[in-house]
């Protein structure tokens, strides 16, 4: 898999480094947001795609990262980078806790528990407005003294590369073999000694940490943190991107996040229909091409070059 196309990773990376240079401020913004979603979708994919845990609390974890870092920076003057680290850690701990809590349950119960977690978080943020400023939004300082789209782009690009690198290494390690085994057939995986419960908790912790990390950075990019980050809407985007791109494939969520974000900008010219359009696309893809766009692309390729 790696041998024939060793150049592709570095080439895409170089392209991504050069990409924003000729672009205006606005397209740069679109790219930065896309990178955030790449991190979110890729880490959610570790949960839903590789270990079969459909979590509805992933956006909430991004919210944990964003609010932890944002509150520390805005109220206690903590350096945003330290804040992001703290947010990542807290999200990891909560992920560990939720993962362990859900050990006993499976399937639907896990989904409902994560949903409840996300709603509780949402209600707390809205009600504790003296600390979080609720729906009014919390103004937070930037990551750098000087605000520049290009700087943020490279920060988020580096973060995305880091997240994807960790995910790639996980998926292509011994652990990844077990992940894929679970994804294929949980019963058979257990029968050959795969510690499914350990894997789940581990995936939950890692994915939550990544969401917290992404959320922390994103909050400091927006300079304004609102309950829209830990919302079901954002959760929907992450889910739709992963499903459309291809659940359980490494590149699926990456393709999905970019495609959807850029498509959103195009559709926005015609009005506020983009959510409806994505929903319909996601529905059709989920129903008729459960392996997503990358799955369709792969099978097309197979047909042409048998």
């Amino acid at each position: 898999m790696i041998s024939s196309s060793k150049w592709i990773g570095p080439a895409v990376l170089a392209g991504m480094c050069l990409l924003p240079l000729p672009l205006g401020i606005y397209p740069q913004h679109v790219l930065i947001v896309s990178l955030f979603y790449v991190m979110m979708a890729a880490s959610w994919n570790l949960l839903a795609g590789y270990t079969g845990q459909v979590s509805f609390g992933h956006a909430a974890m991004a919210g944990i990262g964003a609010y932890t870092s944002g509150i520390l920076a805005a109220k206690a003057g903590v350096n945003p980078w330290v804040g992001v680290a703290a947010g990542t850690l807290l999200a990891a701990l909560l992920g560990l806790g939720l993962g362990a809590l859900c050990l006993k349950m499976g399937g639907i119960y896990l989904s409902l528990t994560t949903l409840a977690f996300s709603q509780i978080l949402h209600i707390i943020i809205v009600n504790e407005y003296e600390v979080t400023r609720g729906t009014m939004g919390l103004q937070v300082p930037g990551l750098t003294a000087e605000y520049s789209k290009l700087t943020y782009y490279y920060i988020l690009l580096a973060a995305t590369v880091l997240v994807l690198f960790i995910l790639y290494r996980m998926i292509h390690s011994n652990l990844g073999l077990s992940f894929r085994a679970v994804q294929n057939d949980e019963t058979a995986a257990r029968a050959v000694g795969v510690r499914v419960l350990h894997l789940r908790v581990l995936a939950f912790t890692v994915a939550s940490a990544m969401a917290g990390f992404a959320g922390g950075l994103y909050g400091h990019y927006l300079l304004l943190i609102t309950p829209e980050i830990p919302s079901l809407d954002l959760q929907f985007y992450v889910l739709a991107m992963t499903v459309i791109g291809g659940m359980g494939s490494f590149v699926g969520p990456i393709v999905g996040a970019f495609a959807i974000n850029i498509l959103a900008e195009k559709i926005r010219d015609y009005g506020e229909y983009h959510v409806l359009v994505f929903g319909l696309i996601a529905l059709v893809v989920a129903r008729f091409a459960p392996e997503g766009l990358t799955g369709v692309w792969r099978s097309l390729g197979r047909r042409r070059t048998p």
Binding site: M1, Y26, N127, G137, I262, W297
Partner: protein, 393 residues
């Protein structure tokens, strides 16, 4: 084997995405921000109407700088994050020279940071929080009511004039609600009127529990600072629980009591409710107000109700006037021109305060009225010199 193909796919998608075409530059573009969706989407509709009339009016008089004036309207959904990114989109993508509008304080507070960062003049029209102008940002103006202005010049004065004995203040959990609630409490304390207060969730559909608490206090006036359809639920349930008509309910924002759905949602309990407004069918302060009423009726085939359509109309006139006087679209020149504004609008003569240090900086406060629904007719109660009737209870 697949990764090569996928890499190419990513490249293609990215390349496709940025083949946008640049817009032709034969117009001068200004931006408007406001909620077209969300709980106060009716404000977006009102803004839309005001924009259409204002663009007709300005372009009918020769446009700006010899070019046609064009307005780009970005939806904020009443959410600060969408407001900030929408503002940024107007400036960076649509290249507008100035931005106007907004009716949510929390959104406006997010937007003034963007305006200040991008150095774009921003004339707030209907977001009332004092902090918007109190931050004394060079690029931020407000041609509309401020919380302290509305409370101290209108609401508190009205409460005193009607000699209410006990007041209850209920405010939504937004910058506007919390701010105006606090100011109202201060004014009531100063006037020596006993009061109690609570904060409520602005999207709540069920106020029974809160109304029970209010009822226990036995107020004769309830000052409700809830914007959007939440106010309709509150008014209807105040009637059901018997809080009103024992106590008079005042809608401290105004427009929700004027939206077309008001009567549908509140039924008979809507009568005798009071609200603040800067517009009344019988009170015309300037000739332009008369023009607005006639043009509106002609264009939309109905009488204007939501006064926010007129507020944005005034805002666009102020913007066009400033651009023409600045003879440029450069931000610094526009700010200087705005500071020298002296323009007759539908709500009187607009002039921005220039003393730094408080919310009066870059602020023009138009006069406000207190109106009561009496048999579905609007009766002006305050100020007394403009009153068309007396409070009914």
């Amino acid at each position: 084997m697949n990764r090569k193909r996928t890499g190419i796919a990513i490249g293609l998608v990215l390349a496709l995405a940025f083949c946008g075409a640049a817009a032709a530059q034969d117009t001068v573009k200004i931006g408007v921000v406001g909620p077209r969706t969300g709980p106060a989407a009716a404000t977006g509709a009102a803004f839309d109407e005001g924009i259409k009339l204002a663009v007709d009016y300005v372009n009918g008089k020769g446009g700006v700088l010899g070019k046609k004036l064009e307005v780009a309207f970005e939806d904020t959904a009443g959410a600060p994050d969408k407001a900030a990114s929408g503002f940024e989109r107007l400036v960076t993508r649509d290249k507008v020279v100035m931005v106007l509008g907004e009716s949510h304080s929390s959104s406006a507070l997010a937007q003034i940071e963007v305006a200040n960062r991008l150095k774009v003049p921003f004339v707030v029209v209907e977001a009332w929080a004092d902090e918007i102008t109190a931050k004394n940002y060079r690029y931020v103006f407000r041609a509309g009511p401020s919380n302290s202005g509305v409370v101290n010049q209108t609401i508190a004065q009205w409460v005193k004039a009607e000699t209410f004995k006990r007041a209850y203040v209920i405010a939504e959990n937004t910058d506007w609600g919390i701010g105006i609630g606090k100011l109202t409490e201060n004014a009531l304390a100063k006037a020596g009127i006993p009061y109690e207060s609570m904060i409520t969730e602005r999207n709540s559909q069920d106020h029974y529990v809160e109304l029970t608490k209010i009822k226990a206090f036995k107020p004769d006036v309830v000052l409700a600072y809830i914007y959007g359809v939440g106010l309709h639920y509150f008014v209807a349930q105040a009637g059901e629980t018997g809080v009103s008509p024992k106590a008079v309910v005042l809608d401290g924002a105004g427009p929700p009591s004027l939206w077309p759905d008001y009567w549908k949602n509140v039924g008979d309990y809507g009568d005798l409710e009071c609200f603040v407004s800067s517009m009344h069918e019988k009170v015309e302060l300037t000739p332009l107000a008369k023009y607005f009423r006639e043009a509106y009726t002609k264009k939309f085939g109905k009488a204007p109700t939501d006064y926010k359509s007129r507020s944005i109309f005034d805002g666009i006139l102020i913007a066009a006037d400033a651009i023409n006087r600045a003879k440029a679209t450069d931000a610094e020149k526009l700010v200087e021109a705005l500071e020298k504004t002296n323009l007759e609008t539908t709500r009187g003569t607009a002039k921005f305060g220039l003393t730094k240090g408080g919310p009066e900086y870059h602020q023009w406060m138009p006069p406000m009225l207190v109106i009561q629904w009496q048999n579905k007719q609007q009766v002006v109660l305050y100020p007394t010199q403009a009153a068309t009737g007396k409070l009914k209870r």
